[in-house]
């Protein structure tokens, strides 16, 4: 135990004397948070619309106006030629093409329905889907409006003058609401995940590099020759970075909340409890990596690869439930995924301990497993 005290002192001294590490601990996360919080967004703002209006009537212009008025579609060019529109799309000058065929207004008045075509650049399928849903809503609204205009009798539900003949027409009025993210801010959704990324990088990467650096310098051998036990040595390596990573998380959360307005609707105690458990696993991975590589370069490469896998499969960028089933099972082994879910649930939805119990249990399980494996892997004596 006493030896641990001395080793901890040495570790902290070394960390605080190393400007590079200090930079990685405090400056880099802050910068990354600032950049990423702004960059990490899938928000679909607006689409540049190329209008091919072959009808040129009030109704067709109404369609264009409605789309434009929503702010979601920005008419940037118009022409009667579909070929030109297509060309613009190929040249990345238009994101969407609206084609209103000739006879649109006439068909609408005569049959009650008429089609328009929306060609979307679906390179980004998800964005195209969102654009489509925007358009559908806008046009549904326009349809209703046209309906009352073309058949004024149906307009007045309030004026009980002469109830029009009902033909058993059923009407479902749909309202919708989105919870937890009223302004649909991607930042609120992304920042908890970004914080997880940063804390993970610090925990795993710095741990791995730290130990390998001693390996490379030869000071590790010097320590292995002493009577210090393996457990003490590992504890001395993990505890400082564990505590500093938690500190970083606190700073990051503060920055996120006060600078970006990310909500903190749940209990911070739960967040930090989870972080403490999570970090054991994350640092354990760093420890394991350090035991199997020889140089700092290898350490960085391997850690980085492992982290990339974790991060891209963690649901931070894309939803886990969109992955194929087998990938979802693999993702279950990722502590990052559970931690990110937990962070989002607590921060955005105000989840309590009971709500995230499952994630906490998984974090504890993975952390224990990883740490055990890592400790077994790390040997003072090479076999």
């Amino acid at each position: 135990m006493r030896a641990l005290r001395f080793l901890l002192r040495k570790e902290f001294l070394q960390i605080f004397r190393d400007r590079t590490i200090l930079g990685m601990l405090f400056v880099m996360p802050a910068v990354q948070l600032l950049v990423l919080a702004n960059a990490a967004s899938f928000e679909v703002k607006s689409a540049r619309l190329y209008v091919v209006d072959q009808d040129r009537t009030t109704a067709s212009r109404g369609v264009v106006d409605r789309l434009a008025a929503s702010g979601r579609f920005v008419p940037t060019a118009a022409s009667p030629s579909l070929a030109r529109a297509d060309d613009a799309m190929l040249a990345r000058e238009a994101d969407a093409i609206l084609v209103v065929p000739a006879g649109f207004e006439r068909d609408l008045a005569r049959d009650g329905r008429a089609p328009v075509q929306l060609i979307l650049d679906a390179e980004d399928g998800a964005a195209a889907g969102v654009m489509q849903s925007y358009a559908a809503r806008i046009l549904a609204g326009y349809s209703a409006e046209l309906g009352t205009r073309l058949h004024p009798a149906l307009a007045s539900v309030g004026a009980r003058a002469e109830p029009p003949p009902r033909r058993g027409r059923a009407v479902i009025e749909v309202r919708q609401r989105g919870w937890y993210n009223a302004e649909l801010e991607y930042r609120d959704y992304m920042v908890p995940g970004i914080l997880v990324v940063l804390v993970t990088m610090i925990g795993t990467l710095l741990t791995a590099m730290n130990i390998v650096r001693e390996k490379e310098a030869g000071t590790l051998d010097q320590l292995n020759v002493t009577p210090v036990s393996r457990g003490t040595f590992i504890a001395a390596k993990l505890i400082p970075l564990w505590s500093l990573a938690l500190l970083d998380l606190a700073l990051g959360l503060a920055l996120a909340h006060f600078a970006f307005g990310v909500p903190v609707r749940g209990s911070l105690a739960v967040v930090f409890l989870a972080a403490a458990v999570y970090l054991v696993g994350a640092l354990g991975i760093g420890l394991w990596v350090s035991a199997i590589v020889e140089t700092q370069q290898q350490a960085m490469f391997v850690t980085f690869s492992i982290m990339m896998v974790y991060l891209l499969m963690s649901g931070i960028f894309t939803p886990v439930r969109a992955m194929p089933t087998w990938a979802q099972w693999v993702a279950q082994a990722s502590p990052v995924m559970h931690f990110a879910q937990l962070m989002r649930a607590v921060l955005l939805k105000g989840a309590g301990l009971a709500d995230v119990a499952r994630q906490l249990a998984m974090l504890a399980l993975i952390g224990t497993a990883v740490l055990t494996l890592a400790v077994r892997q790390y040997r003072k004596r090479t076999a």
């Binding site: 990685m24 990423l36 990490a40 967004s41 679909v44 703002k45 799309m89 190929l90 609408l108 009650g112 329905r113 008429a114 089609p115 328009v116 075509q117 929306l118 650049d121 679906a122 980004d124 399928g125 998800a126 964005a127 889907g129 489509q132 849903s133 559908a136 809503r137 033909r167 059923a170 009407v171 479902i172 009025e173 749909v174 919708q176 609401r177 989105g178 919870w179 937890y180 993210n181 649909l184 801010e185 991607y186 609120d188 959704y189 700092q296 370069q297 980085f304 690869s305 891209l312 960028f317 894309t318 939803p319 969109a322 992955m323 194929p324 990938a327 989002r344 955005l348 939805k349 709500d355």
Partner: protein, 371 residues
């Protein structure tokens, strides 16, 4: 400018042998990128396929039952709970057990029969805005289909929206992400590895030995990066094969142009790696510089995952200096849109310019270090 100098030739052969002998690293550098492309191609998906519904029905009747059946019968939806009050919704959302709640009012069937509006509230977990929107849209569509079935297509007008998803009819995420993954893989093998490897040699002092030799600085740089260029090319080929065979990403344009662009981008990456190695003092600094200066911008600011249009206005111009951004325009253009040089020349020109600038800067830096 002895391009055919025998010294240079011997040097390049030696460097090549050096890399080929390090079997472990070689294997890693060939297989890991491929593994990444395959894994991430599967993992990075935005499709919303399994929407979990909480059906809140205080006064069940024939109509609500029918509506519920509509949701249950739709392959995209799955009813995870049926509740009598809305109190059930919050805990389910918090636990991440449901995505949307369909809340119908009592007397639903009655109102439908009367013709007065029967109200329905869709509450979605909008933590993830896009997925939230999409789920809402899908849910509305189910309700609309039900309404249509009830014969609600009476007098009134309906503008029917026909949508055509150009270039990607089935909205496959892989089509968007995989071309970007190729860029990521290239950046990893070129910029990152070169920066690390060269800075390691610098630290060890083996570079100094070379600099004293009759080889000129630019020849040394060339010899050092050539193996990585070959490696990068091998990686591109395997990544594209994976894209084609595993993910069925289309290849509508010229493969030759794509390979050329990939080589160009790889060279830009190599030049960047050399510059970073020349400009930093230690291996560690080079690693951090490479990560921050190449990997991070490639993942975050190139449009690889996050659309550039989604970036805040002030951040968008920054993406112009990220080489990956231009390469992704080319790779997506060729693979998905089938366009050729007529449309892609601006992006290619930018890459060529970047290459020239970086090479000059890198070689200059190297010379300065020796003086």
């Amino acid at each position: 400018m002895a391009l055919r100098s025998p010294a240079l030739g011997a040097f390049m052969v030696k460097e090549l042998r050096h890399i080929l002998r390090d079997r472990q690293t070689l294997l890693v550098l060939l297989l890991l990128p491929l593994a990444m492309v395959v894994l991430f191609g599967y993992a990075l998906r935005s499709e919303v396929n399994d929407v979990r519904v909480v059906f809140v029905d205080p006064a069940p009747d024939a109509a609500t039952a029918a509506l519920r059946a509509r949701f249950a019968g739709n392959g995209r939806f799955r009813i995870v709970a049926v509740a009598a009050t809305t109190a059930a919704v919050e805990p389910l959302f918090r636990r991440g057990a449901a995505d949307v709640a369909v809340i119908v009012e009592p007397g639903f069937a009655g109102r439908l029969a009367e013709g007065t509006p029967a109200r329905l509230l869709l509450v979605g977990d909008a933590s993830d805005p896009n997925t939230g929107s999409t789920i809402q849209a899908y849910s509305r569509a189910v309700v609309a289909a039900y309404q249509a079935e009830l014969g609600a297509a009476g007098p009134g007008a309906r503008v029917e929206l026909m949508t055509r998803m150009r270039f990607n009819p089935r909205l496959e995420s892989a089509n968007l992400f995989v071309p970007g993954l190729v860029a990521l893989v290239l950046t990893l093998v070129t910029a990152l590895m070169t920066a690390i490897s060269l800075s390691r040699e610098k630290e060890r002092g083996t570079l100094e030995v070379l600099l004293v030799s009759p080889l000129r600085p630019w020849q040394i740089v060339l010899g050092k990066v050539l193996p990585y260029l070959l490696l990068a090319f091998a990686n591109v080929v395997t990544a594209l094969l994976a894209a084609w065979l595993v993910f069925r990403v289309p290849f509508r344009g010229s493969v030759a142009l794509l390979l050329f662009a990939s080589l160009l981008y790889a060279m830009v990456g190599l030049a960047l790696g050399v510059l970073i190695a020349a400009a930093t003092d230690s291996q560690r600094a080079a690693m951090i510089g490479a990560m921050a200066g190449t990997m991070l911008p490639t993942v975050m600011l190139s449009g690889m995952i996050f659309p550039i249009a989604s970036l805040p206005g002030w951040l968008q111009p920054v993406t112009y200096v990220v080489p990956a951004r231009w390469f992704i325009v080319v790779s997506r253009g060729i693979m998905l849109k089938g366009v050729g040089v007529e449309y892609l020349w601006p992006s290619l020109l930018v890459l060529v310019t970047m290459l020239a600038v970086l090479l000059v800067a890198a070689i200059r830096r190297f010379k300065a270090r020796l003086a």
